[in-house]
Subunit: 336 residues, 2 copies
Amino acid sequence: MSTNIAIIGATGAVGSEFIKVIEHLKFEFDELYLVASARSAGQMIVNNLGNFVVQDIETFDFSTITYAFFTAGGSVSKEWAEKAVNAGATVIDNTSAFRMDPLVPLIIPEVNLSSYKQEKLIANPNCSTIQIVRALKPIDELFGLDKVIISTYQAASGAGNAGIEELHASMLNENESENENAAETSTVFSRPLAHNVIPQIDKFLDNDFTFEEEKVRFESRKILAAKNLFITCTAVRIPVFIGHSAAVYVETIEDIDLEKLSVSFAEIPDIELSNTASSFPTPRLIASQDKVYIGRMRKEPNTPKGVWLWVVANNLWVGAALNAVRIAQQLQKNTL
Amino acid sequence: MSTNIAIIGATGAVGSEFIKVIEHLKFEFDELYLVASARSAGQMIVNNLGNFVVQDIETFDFSTITYAFFTAGGSVSKEWAEKAVNAGATVIDNTSAFRMDPLVPLIIPEVNLSSYKQEKLIANPNCSTIQIVRALKPIDELFGLDKVIISTYQAASGAGNAGIEELHASMLNENESENENAAETSTVFSRPLAHNVIPQIDKFLDNDFTFEEEKVRFESRKILAAKNLFITCTAVRIPVFIGHSAAVYVETIEDIDLEKLSVSFAEIPDIELSNTASSFPTPRLIASQDKVYIGRMRKEPNTPKGVWLWVVANNLWVGAALNAVRIAQQLQKNTL
């Protein structure tokens, strides 16, 4: 049986990373199609996998596709994902469109692949959720999660190419940069991001949390199968191009044994735990795009059940393309 | 009685802000002396308060000084503060040298002035401690603090002029900026700070917390007179020049009434609470140097005893010079 892949939203920040991840993971396929809206259709894209003419989603034939990766925004997924499924494709959706749908599995292959029941539409979690939950899973298994309090430090690329460009333009606006109510135009972010931090990612909800913060709460609960887990988050945009970080404080049901936890992290191939307090990871200097880096692991002196972690990962890879392609690889493996 | 002031460390990032704060607060004095190490002595400084020749601390006569503000680093304070006190000056020390000394009061005028008992040596708290404790105090009074979990977003200027300069140089190093192990020299910060976040401020202690994180813990407990308060922190340096931010999660002993808390914040002249979720403060755009800005105040849905706050202030003013000069103003008022 041949394996044909389509990337919907291939010209975006995450879309272009999908191509690199497919190559990096040596994902075996027969045909690859790059698909986008009419605006980008016809564009020529040349990369290590070949030469591609971007296809218009309006006229694209999903009936020959095995795996369709959707990463063109929630509205595109809402309009096209089910059509692709009806045409015979398995859709792995990187948007928030279906994540909280009880009929749609929300999968991190290293964490909850067992909850996959042959559905044809699978949701890829939010970028910050993925790296946080991958760090939480071993803690949950060893000691049981009781309470999780998170503050994030999220890169501009989480808002796509437009986010990267707006940060870059804002950086160049040097003269207006220091503590002034700059006349700078911000459209992607709600404030100028250069020389600044913005405690808002995505829209505000009725409870005054942002949608991003609630994604972390509700997606984590769904993935960890812990619907009442006490987990809460403040999500903050920072002037970094690539790489999300999170300061994660965890309280557990049983007392924490840091040595046991270190051993558990060491057994996971794509998690790298810092050996010493001072060897912590930072977003700019992470060595590999496909690992989750954990540092600053330390016991909270106030309680034997408290631990802090500092979790860093490439948001475009670990938090998006890599997770999605690994889902497809697992499906492929099970099909063969 | 005449009031003579000396600023020790007058040529540093905070030292120069002291001069502006003295003018801003209309602090009444007769003579002002700018003092520094031999390296800066003899330098001419011209500002709105007059023309000054920087005095050498080695030969400076503290016997004519009423209030000496020390902001030249812990080692200078350790060597000279007691000499200044013995010569007759009241010392307000902006370093960490004496903060945890049980004989030295640690004062935020708006919070614990009542704990001042005529001591001649007074410690000014750490920059991030000040803004956090000012936000915590009304919560403590209304509902009682049970647990406080903090992640900070701290500006480069917290490391003085050298910190500002290193961030600026790092910003200009554009070609090496994105996720590369740049050959850039970092001496003030342990990693390049541009396009990055660094979860380390000050040195690491035996329990793998940093000294900055433990300052927040132990200074907050001392100021709030709550020696067993459950308070913990991850302190992170971000690529912002001026303005510290903190994501503060608080659990209280009694249920939280957000309206009562809003009223309480509104009654404090120098605290500005955002009216709506989307009108949160950011470090680059805070309108005034002498206020503590609080936004993103929201109840935690997991418990009636949980609340999040986002606290922003100018670290050089609110977190340093302003607090120190206000201490002196209070002393002056009580003396008159």
